[in-house]
Symmetry: C3
Subunit: 277 residues, 3 copies
Amino acid sequence: MDLEHLGESLARVRATSPLVHSITNYVTANDCANALLACGASPIMSDDAAEVADITSICGGLVLNIGTLNQRSIEGMRVAGARSAELDHPIVVDPVGAGASALRTRIATELVDTLPVTVVRGNMSEIKAIAGAAASTRGVDAGPDDAITRDNLESSAEFARELAARLHAIIAITGAIDIVADETRVRAITNGVAMMSSITGTGCMLSCLVGAHVIASFDERLDAVVSAVACMGIAGEVARARMDALDGSGSFRIYLIDAICNMDAPTLDRRARVEVL
Amino acid sequence: MDLEHLGESLARVRATSPLVHSITNYVTANDCANALLACGASPIMSDDAAEVADITSICGGLVLNIGTLNQRSIEGMRVAGARSAELDHPIVVDPVGAGASALRTRIATELVDTLPVTVVRGNMSEIKAIAGAAASTRGVDAGPDDAITRDNLESSAEFARELAARLHAIIAITGAIDIVADETRVRAITNGVAMMSSITGTGCMLSCLVGAHVIASFDERLDAVVSAVACMGIAGEVARARMDALDGSGSFRIYLIDAICNMDAPTLDRRARVEVL
Amino acid sequence: MDLEHLGESLARVRATSPLVHSITNYVTANDCANALLACGASPIMSDDAAEVADITSICGGLVLNIGTLNQRSIEGMRVAGARSAELDHPIVVDPVGAGASALRTRIATELVDTLPVTVVRGNMSEIKAIAGAAASTRGVDAGPDDAITRDNLESSAEFARELAARLHAIIAITGAIDIVADETRVRAITNGVAMMSSITGTGCMLSCLVGAHVIASFDERLDAVVSAVACMGIAGEVARARMDALDGSGSFRIYLIDAICNMDAPTLDRRARVEVL
């Protein structure tokens, strides 16, 4: 598998239908479950410490999303993370709103510091908060000073690569331009449309898709993450193109899940815009 | 009311608009509430032990769904169940993911053993877990060995009937073929489409519809459950037929709720495929 | 700004994109977040006492919705409310289901009695429960005896104005006719369609829109509330007009968010039906 064949990552998800355990926020949990089903995976949501070890044991991997974090789900994340680590399962961390509260920053940092995390996926403000860098978070959105642009692409890429090396994890920073980095390689993905920030949950859904792809193609996990990111961006483009004059963000959200559902490997290969940095 | 007049069950739901108290998971709670409204009932969601007795007292019945089970909702289910029992309200149990964790199996078993449950609705793996039989659960989906087919229909029907006798409850096992059984009677319903397993929540929504139908027609509750199951299956067929080339699971989910909303008694009578086993 | 220029309130929301902290129920949290984004605001949901003071501090205002109330969210509401009060942030209270349980009535009453609430938005049964008046609540819906009609409009308006004076808050009572009152002024808004009560969450979404409008136009907050109420009603009309024969409540819900997304100030000004009482 290489960058010419991102579609293979999607094909593997559909062929293996990985079970993905998500501990996630209640705002976008339904979209996350439906996005996982749309891409060919199977979702299980469970956050109580009394059962998460059982649940994660029957799954292929774990996605930890800290939106609407609470004392129960924090304990659930710790127990599930420890069990996932024992089982060598891929773990994806989505640090929703890291930087927006001391609790979120502390728990996100704890998760990436104590668990053998495979991927961290967030916007630049959230990733900066985890890195201990000054961030300009605007709640759960990236602050305006944290936009990834052509002008700062090189320094953003280097920041991602350095953090990947420090955390021994793939770092996926999504925005107008998406960056995916491991310790030695950095990719930029330029798929996607501005409309994606007009609905809640695109980031949360993407983190789940990343989980599904990484479980299905663990040995080529950098490409698997790139594939998931490109897939979501292309789905956004397809959904946007379908909108008519009366459609707005409500229909766009439905069309986005439709487009994930109807995405096939050749389309993903043909439309993905990936640069090697 | 008999099997020729399933539509009467739906008509009674619309005529009486039963208030249904649901203690349910946060993944599909919105779909459950909207499905209840679409079928003519009124939803109330409430899971805290400090208020569930009050809430269930003003309702016509209770639906307990153990997805995203947690210590708070478990306590809420116990208190609400006890109060519902005192009031002789119908109680529906949906053992989401029973078999997938020891906690879910234990709580599902506790609920059906300690409460005067009217209906248990799940997939075959979940129902087997409750029955203490060996199941091949795949998370919240039935395992492949647990599919109901023409080949095992007779033995599946007998299993359902025996469990119904043991639990003094109607057992509804849904899959490619649906089975509804009480101590002496078994029905098979063959409505529905495969697409229904491409979205999360069809089972959860169905359990809520079952609750609404059973409240509205308690004296003919076997037929009421059959009516709810057929109604959901036909809604799936209507939704599937409406999909165009760009539509996927996102639109299907919306069309499904539309079809529940637009279902009428004559359509239900005409399209229901029910066999007496 | 005056009643001829309600659109200005919407324009200010879009120009300033206020961050709105919502502590809300898990049934409609997704719709609330998407409605806020659709009207031009930014949502943050967070309910744990350990972080709500941080979260609310970076926001422009707070919306407290007591659906699916629980011990954790109650504590979160108290802490967030106290911090919001210190910061002089607008606070909107949505007493979902007040009157349906002693807990909801008590907490709703506590919130409006102890916090410097800017707006209380509910149906007539919920508002009566807060006022300590006899109400005919039907769960989370207004009881039939609590409908606002032409016949009782004058007495309903006087009830709202008196409660506004007592609570030093704007009272918004929504139904077939909506009433918005402060201590001296009362407005009636007659936009909207019956279909809005066929989906869950229109009230919850409206309370969030009210929050966004009041943050953006605090000095003209009565008009801001009227603007949000009219905006939601017009969105309902637009969504209803768009429905075809196969569409039902599922599509209506999507079209409603589309219509909020596509609403512009001239449309709001032209279509708003507001009476000075």
